[in-house]
């Protein structure tokens, strides 16, 4: 006869020396629920837990354990969720008995570490904040660190920029960027560090801020949930300010609309964090109270509606991975934004670059989309214009500008033998730290190689079918690249893509073919900059079509 899951679990738990079954496991809705007591040497008083086991157990679900150990009395201890669930992340096992053994031992470890020894973690965790909605809509507010030291009880206004409307879970969401903080007289105190693209967004909104210094929390971990908890935190003049603001909003016929209240406090590493409460105009949590024949403003009781707030400073945005600062902090110019150039641009931006200028005379046509970083939806546009927009949409920190393409395509060549024009061109190019020449224009390559430059120039091009990628560094560009293409690399230029109605055949290669080579090249270039290694020219070979393998050959 097949032994029931409940019996296996019960028997297994009974077999654990430090666990006593207090009440047997029963099926309650989808849970198998029971009560246990943990007792072992070193633990003065046994601890009681409700245990809830989901049907998925021992598998995880939504990246969470499907067994819950719950004790509401332990909220004051580290890694306990608001409902009293102990937060454990344990080893993977698909075997029920083994997993039970692992999880109960993890619970025991938590008790030793955080209940008995009261250990502190080095890693800071943000307050646990419920995600409320306001009139069936969620709100998010992102901000960056700013160059300003807020003092306790500072208050004023927050300028916001609308980001977008979307869907979050089963609800609509409105996303805002924090633009700047101004004092109650309207003087700007601090500005968030977004790119001009976002800063110049005309859709402006605003909110109110107060800096309270200490985290608005109980047990150092859970955000306060009722306005009455702020009675000792908000001073009278701030409440008066709130009252005046609300009166003003009502006069402007904004009754019923949402006003975000940023509540700031210090966190480790000299940073501040903002939690954002949502106030409804006409229902601010304040009331007028007559005291000694004078009206004063007091906080009322009531649940706080919390929004979602995010610190999206550069260090967090690119915290998971970025290129070396020897690249990202440099002023970069990309000339030629076809397949290679647009992939270079997109990768640099995704890897943290802050200043990128683009130059190309070409227009983007639908056929370009399949292997370059462009989108069909934008129709026929200037390549620079579209890529500028795409890059700005990708990173809120990159400043992208377009460069007068006539300069490179026409003037630089026409006036190449004029010393003054050449000097001017040198000065212009030297105003950058790094140039990526992805034009495949041999004449421009020659022009640039002839200049006296103090900046880095990196030239990238590929052969038909993306069989090889050639990368050359100034000042060894023209001779090397032409020699490779003329003498060394054996490319087939007969099998080209030659669509009907087109006089100009183009090379064959997919996005995958090109991107693979460009990413490998960029990875190598990043390494050279990161480790300050000599910038030797290199060729990446892919081998034959039936025996594909990448090989980087340095010269």
């Amino acid at each position: 006869m097949r032994v029931s899951r409940k019996n296996i679990i019960t028997k297994c738990i009974e077999g654990l020396s430090f666990v006593n079954l207090v009440s047997s496991f029963e099926q309650v809705d989808i849970f198998l629920k029971g009560k246990i007591e943990i007792a072992f040497d070193g633990l003065d008083t046994p601890l009681l837990f409700t245990v809830e086991i989901l049907p998925q157990y021992p598998f995880k679900s939504y990246n969470e354990e499907t067994i819950k150990f719950i004790n509401q009395d332990l909220l004051a201890y580290k890694h306990v969720m608001g409902n009293g669930t102990i937060c454990i992340h344990t080893s993977h096992s698909i075997h029920l008995k083994e997993k039970l053994n692992i999880d109960f031992n993890s619970l025991k470890n938590w008790i030793v570490k955080y209940y008995i020894n009261k250990e502190e973690d080095n890693h800071y965790e943000h307050l646990i904040v419920p995600q409320h909605c306001f009139k069936n809509n969620k709100y998010t507010f992102t901000f960056t660190n700013v160059d300003y030291e807020f003092k306790k009880h500072d208050y004023g206004f927050v300028n916001l920029k609308f980001l977008n409307n979307g869907v979050l879970g089963d609800m609509s969401v409105t996303n805002f960027l924090t633009d700047s903080f101004v004092n109650s007289s309207g003087k700007e105190l601090a500005s968030c560090k977004w790119s001009l693209f976002y800063k110049s967004n005309p859709q402006k909104y605003h909110g109110i801020y107060i800096f309270v210094e200490s985290p608005p929390a109980f047990h150092d971990r859970f955000v306060l949930l009722n306005w009455e908890n702020f009675v000792d935190v908000f001073k009278l003049d701030f409440l008066k300010f709130l009252h005046h603001c609300e009166k003003d909003y009502i006069n402007k016929k904004l009754k019923g609309q949402v006003i975000p209240l940023y509540i700031g406090y210090n966190i480790p590493n000299s940073e501040i964090h903002w939690q954002v409460a949502l106030l409804e105009v006409g229902k601010f949590p304040i009331e007028g109270v007559k005291e000694h024949k004078k009206w004063i403003t007091e906080l009322t009781h009531g649940q706080i509606t919390w929004a979602i707030s995010h610190n999206v400073s550069y260090s967090y945005f690119f915290g998971r991975g970025a290129f070396s600062e020897n690249i990202t902090k440099k002023k970069i110019l990309i000339i030629g934004i076809g397949a290679i150039g647009s992939i270079v641009a997109r990768t640099l931006v995704k890897s943290g670059s802050l200043k990128i200028d683009l130059c190309d005379y070409d227009i983007k046509e639908p056929e370009n989309v399949c292997r370059a970083e462009f989108q069909f939806a934008n129709g026929l546009t200037d390549k620079v214009d579209e890529l500028k927009s795409l890059l700005s949409l990708t990173s809120p920190f990159v400043e992208v500008r377009s460069v007068n393409q006539i300069y490179f395509e026409s003037i630089s060549k026409a006036l190449f033998n004029d010393p003054n024009a050449r000097k001017e061109l040198e000065e212009f190019i030297n105003s950058y730290d790094t140039i990526f020449d992805c034009t495949t224009d041999n004449d421009l390559m020659h022009v640039i190689n002839q200049l006296k430059l103090s900046c880095d120039v990196i030239n990238l091009s590929i052969t038909n079918k993306a069989q090889e990628l050639v990368c050359a560094f100034y000042p060894n560009i023209y001779g090397f690249v032409t020699h490779q293409f003329e003498k060394v690399l054996k490319q087939d230029t007969e099998d080209m893509y030659n669509p009907t109605g087109c006089w100009s055949p183009t090379f064959k290669a997919s996005y995958n073919d090109i991107n693979l080579l460009v990413q490998y090249a960029l990875k190598h270039i990043n390494l050279l900059y990161q480790k300050d290694l000599p910038k030797n020219n290199f060729v990446i070979e892919t081998g034959s079509e039936i025996a594909f393998k990448l090989k980087l050959k340095e010269f």
């Binding site: 001779g479 003329e486 060394v488």
Partner: protein, 320 residues
């Protein structure tokens, strides 16, 4: 490659010979003579006979990039300090040639680069002032102290360096094989914008021939020297003694990472040439100004894409 590697390298040396630029060289010699005479007139009894030095004197010069060097041996009591000597001759040359040339203080020499003449030729002469160590000693052993212009390079560089140009020239005398390799390295260094000092490449080449049994054709000899550099430059006890000053180890002028880079460079070059012989032409190109057209009838130097068909990209087309 339609010709052998050795044939190509012989061609490289041939097209880089100084004899191709006899007319230009004549201008150089005249300028050098003019400067020598001016210095002799100015300093007369304070100096010994000026001496031609540098690559031209050592027969290791190449025609694509060179200058002429003149060593001026000052007597011990001509100046109180080496710095005074250096500044005094600089002031003199500046006064004398400042209106027709750029006169600049370099690390141990004073460079005189004449403005382009009617044919567009720019003549460049380096003057290296040195002072004997003790009164009259130069005539016995030719040792000199050079002033090291510390403003030019490293902050904590020493203020003087001892040298012996005669010994340096003797060191390479009658070493035809070594000279060929040194000239090839100069071609490599010039066309690939490498910063390694010619003197270092000269000494390491001579040492390679001295330590290893290097024989065979020109490519085999070059390859052997490149392998020697690849395998030895990074070794802890590797030294390159200056024949003009036994206490001066030229290998020490490279930082450890620069030695690693040079070794790596040789490794890359050897591997790339092994991969494809045509890469040899990238590292060691002929001087196109002096190529013998008849010799190149086999296709060398011809652009393969030049005759491509209308509306089909040439073979050398780049894409991106």
């Amino acid at each position: 490659m339609n010709i052998t590697k050795s044939e190509h390298l012989e061609n490289v040396l041939q097209t880089h010979r100084m004899t191709h630029i006899e007319d230009l060289l004549k201008k150089y010699r005249e300028k050098r003579q003019d400067i020598k005479e001016a210095i002799e007139a100015e300093y007369s009894s304070d100096i010994y006979n000026p001496l031609n030095s540098g690559s031209y004197a050592k027969h290791t010069a190449i025609n694509s990039k060179f200058d002429l060097d003149v060593m001026i041996p000052f007597k011990r009591d001509a100046f109180m300090t080496l710095e005074e000597m250096f500044n005094d001759i600089f002031d003199f040359l500046q006064e004398k040639y400042g209106s027709v040339a750029e006169v600049i203080k370099q690390k141990v020499s004073i460079g005189i680069e004449f403005y382009a003449d009617d044919n567009g030729d720019i003549i460049s002469i380096d003057i290296v002032p040195g002072r004997e160590l003790n009164t009259g000693q130069y005539e016995d052993d030719h040792k000199l102290n050079l002033y090291v212009n510390s403003n030019y390079g490293e902050l904590e560089a020493q203020s003087y360096i001892q040298t012996n140009i005669h010994a340096q020239i003797d060191h390479i005398k009658s070493k035809d094989n070594e000279r060929k390799i040194i000239r090839l390295f100069k071609v490599w260094k010039t066309t690939n914008n490498e910063n390694y000092k010619s003197f270092l490449l000269e000494l390491i080449t001579i040492k390679a021939f001295d330590k290893e049994n290097i024989k065979g054709n020109l490519w085999e000899k070059l390859k052997a020297v490149m392998e020697y550099i690849r395998d030895h430059i990074t070794k802890d006890n590797f030294t390159l003694k200056d024949p003009g000053n036994g206490g001066n180890d030229i290998a020490d002028t490279l930082e450890d990472y620069e030695k690693r880079n040079l070794s790596n460079k040789m490794k890359n070059m050897l591997e790339r040439i092994e991969d494809n012989e045509d890469n040899l032409k990238h590292y060691f190109p002929t001087n196109p100004d002096f190529e013998d057209e008849d010799k190149n009838g086999n296709g060398y130097g011809k652009k393969s894409g030049a005759a491509s068909l209308f509306s089909r990209p040439p073979k050398n087309e780049r894409f991106g």
